[in-house]
Structure formats: structure tokens, C-alpha cells
Symmetry: C2
Amino acid sequence: MEKYKIVIDTLGSDKGPEEILKGAKRILEENSRANLVLVGDEELINSFNFPRERVEIIDAKETVTNYDNPVEAFYKKPNVSIFKAIERASKEDSAGIITAGNSGALMVASLRYLLDDKRTRPCMAAILPNMQHTFTCLVDTGASIDVGPLQLVEFAHLGSDFMKKLYKIESPRVGLLSNGAEPTKGNKLVKEAHKLLAEEKEINFVGNIEGNKTLSGLCDVLVCDGFAGNQVLKNSEGMAVNLITEMVKFSKKTGNASIMELVGYLMKTYDFESLGAGILLGAKKLVLKCRGSSGAEAIYNASKILINIAENKTLYE
Amino acid sequence: MEKYKIVIDTLGSDKGPEEILKGAKRILEENSRANLVLVGDEELINSFNFPRERVEIIDAKETVTNYDNPVEAFYKKPNVSIFKAIERASKEDSAGIITAGNSGALMVASLRYLLDDKRTRPCMAAILPNMQHTFTCLVDTGASIDVGPLQLVEFAHLGSDFMKKLYKIESPRVGLLSNGAEPTKGNKLVKEAHKLLAEEKEINFVGNIEGNKTLSGLCDVLVCDGFAGNQVLKNSEGMAVNLITEMVKFSKKTGNASIMELVGYLMKTYDFESLGAGILLGAKKLVLKCRGSSGAEAIYNASKILINIAENKTLYE
């Protein structure tokens, strides 16, 4: 049975390295096929007494914060865990990397170490549950904030290829996020991208998708710049959290405990937390970006996603 | 008792002019203080037998579609109902106008007939219910798609003034929609606007607001360009509709009828439909933009909002 060597950046989570290391421990306990490379504070990592034969340790104690310029950091800080981790992941024996660190730093190091020669720039995808009970691949979710129309076309290709391979969709429907369904609607960027996508022969372009249809299942791939994608992702999650909070309050207020059953069902169906990991498309290795607020559970879930994708032999051939 | 003359553009709804005219009939029946100016197909309007002393009719049968260029239409189509309606609303005796017509056309005509001399460009606001059970003014919701940082500062002023006057908030908290809470987060537009807003003395700027906090009640005014605002508005509504649809299905499947009580409560609390009317800020008269899908009910609700705001003497003095 094949073994998967997964690189984990143990720094970068708001919850601290201990939480990430707890997640790493659980991965080793529950998945005998996973071996790990743990990047971070060696002393702290050693204190967890991981089995030596399954764990490699790389000492790197620096981080890139949200206030750093990631490009500057790449050249000036030699010992940043996310950079070291991505460099290590580029080696042949690794299946991929999991990090909850800074998105900008992730992009800079991925461009340096993991760029697929056929692609100009990777993008960050989220796989979101939709109303048809299938999945929609949202690209980009925040890795590329200021982009041009050609990059949106690139995102469409990356998302389309991913959905073909992962979900065996023959001709994924690609939609473009806009403020109206008509081709004349959109900001300058979207209007130009619309024209280019309509002419793109390898893309099954289904036109503009409005904000209220993002998770309707009208398309398999939803293309937008990273600023807009970040809004879609966070706004959908925020609304779900808001409504579920209201349901719990209503259940308590009215003493109707059966509503908690509904809450459980909705949280399982629309599990944004476990699906919250972003997947970098257009890189040579699997890169899973967990949220900054990730704890042990999120890291463990990310390892499951990573192994699932890695097992899909056709995906990164 | 004061009478309010409300101009209604009877064309522009996807549901046809008959629906708008039914709404007009209800306004007259249920609000003795409202008189109307109905703009549209005179023959059709006459077939409704409105009381002559309360209704003025302007014959204008043309419309601006989503495929027209609104500026071209303004100069080439002399008989467009939304243009005629806004021109009529600019007269002293009118309290404002209600339309479900084209947003671009509305902006063009408002710039021509209703521009407040103190402001550079109006913006479209939506008043949304938030988790604190107060309201958040979202500006812009789609009237100005491609804008510069100075326009976002202008939107902040318009939204802030509106919330001061309508809700008597002394110093409304103004947030800027971004992809991260730190001042360094955002696209080029947002980063520049952040700097300007931080220096703006008359604005109580509370910094960046992320997509999952849009309706959290952390700010009274949420500023963004029209493309992003349209996403927030439609995405929030779309998620609410999706989750409520799931609740109804769950209620049927499990035979748990009490869940419908919860659905009723949520729909009342987060009534996006009745709050769906956009309000043009920075214009000399009240301009309410209903959705393209508006029927009789939406037009009637808009008239109530318009009269409520008009009664607030301090608002448009």
C-alpha cells in the first residue's frame, strides 16, 4: 500500500503550533499510510514524541505576518516555516503540503518552487457544496487580488481541469461571477473576461452568474478575481453562521428542541469548516491552505482531503 | 395632513406594467395621503379607472433594456418612462419616485435631473437587517460599478449622513469591505480608500470589514464599489433563500411541522424582499429602486418606505 509523505507547516495558525501538532498526532494515529514532515520549532515538535520512523523535522521558527510584505520576507527572512515547508514539498517524495499560514507568503513560495510550467500563475480554489448537492469550484478565493482578464481565463482552465479530474465531469460548466446575467453586465475586468471566455474553445462557458446564484449549482466552476471570491466565500459562510445562530436562539427561546436536529443536518450538509481548506491549482504539488483559525481538527481534515486527491491518480500525473 | 405626490414608473418590471398598476391601486386604497403620478402606457393606465383627482398620467411607452447603453438611450430615445418619471420627480411638488426599471438608466437620469449640488455622484444604498437587530447601510449596491477611491469616500459621507438622519445615530461607524481586517489587505482600490477614510475627520472610520462580518452589525455603514456591493446583497439573499429552502424540505421530510414556525420567524427578521428596495443617496429627491422582479406588493412596500423617509423632516431639508 502506498505511503504519502505530507509536509505540515506547524506555524501560522492563530491557535498556535500546539494545535497543529495535535492535528499531526491524530493524522499519524488514524492513518497508517501517512508519514509527515513537520516544519517549525524543533524543540517544541520533539516534545510531542512523534514516532521517529514516520516523522522528519525541519527547524524553522520565523513566520510571515499579515503586516509583512511577502515578497520582501521571501528574500529577507531566511528561516520562515511556510517557505521551508513549500521548498521541502517540491521534492519528489512528498505528496503535498498543509499550511494555515499567510496566503501571500504561500503564493510567493509556490511561484518560486511549485509552478507548473504550463501555467502562468496558480490560483486558490475552494470546493463548495451547492444546492444541487454537488460541488462548485470557486476560483480564485483570495490568492490573486488584482488580476487582469487573461488571468481569469487561466483560472477557468485550472478550475475546469480540476473538476474534470477530481469529479469526472466531462465538460465542466464554467460561470463568470458578475452583477447581472447579461454579457453587458460587469466591471471592466469582468466584461473583458466575458468576451475572452466566450471565445475559448476548451471552456464550456455558461455566461455570467449573479451573486444570488453562486451556490445554486448552475455551474461547476465559478470564476472571479480573488477579492470578489473572498467575498463570496466569507459572505456565504457568514450568512450560514448568522442563520444557524438564530436557529439555536429560537430553539432555546421556544423550547423546541427538535430544531437542533435541523441545525445538525444543515451543519453537516453545508460543512464550510471541513471544506474550508483552499486548494492551490496550477502547482506541481498539492497545496492545502487552511484558515488562519485552524485547529487540530482542521489540519486532520485537510490531510484526509490531501490523501483523497493524491489517490486520484489522474489528477497530478 | 400633508399629501405626498409619488411618481411611479409603471414600466421596467419583469412582471409587466399591470403588476405595478395593481400596486399603485393598493397605495391609493390604503394610504389617503398619497397621490400619484403614473408614467407609462396611458391607455393601459386609464383602463384601471384610477380616481382622477389623485392621479396624474404621463404617457411614455419606451423602456431601456439591460442590453441598451443607458447614456445613448438618454439622448436617442425621447419617450422612455424612467427618464420621464425622474424628470417629473425633480419638480417641487413631488416627494420622490419609485421604479423597477434599469439601474443604469436611473443613474443617468438622476445625474441629469436630481443631482445634489454638494455631491459628485449619487450612490445606491440598501438598508439591511443585521445580527444586532439594527440596520446596516450598504453603499454602493450596484449603481457605480467601476469607481475610484475618492468615490468610496463620497459613498462613506452619503451613507453616514443618511444613517445620522434616518436612525438618529450620532456618529455612524463606517466600515470598508475588504478581504482581511488589516489595513494592508484589499485590492488597489480598497487600500487607497482605506488611507483616505482614515484621514477623513467627519467619518467615524472603524477599518476594514471582512465578508463574513458584513451583516454582523460591526458597522452602521458598509462602503464598497458597486460590483462588490452587488455581490454582498445578492449573495446574502441567495444564502438565506438556500437555507430556508433546505429547512422547508427538512420539515416535509421529517414531518416536523414546527420548523415552519422558525421559517416564518427568520423570513420576518431577515425580510430581504421588503427591504430590497435600493435608495439613491445624494439626490435631491427620494429615489427608490425596486428589483426588476417586483410585483404589486414590492411597489406598495416601496411607497411605505418612501413616505416614512419623507416624513422624517430632517432627512431632505
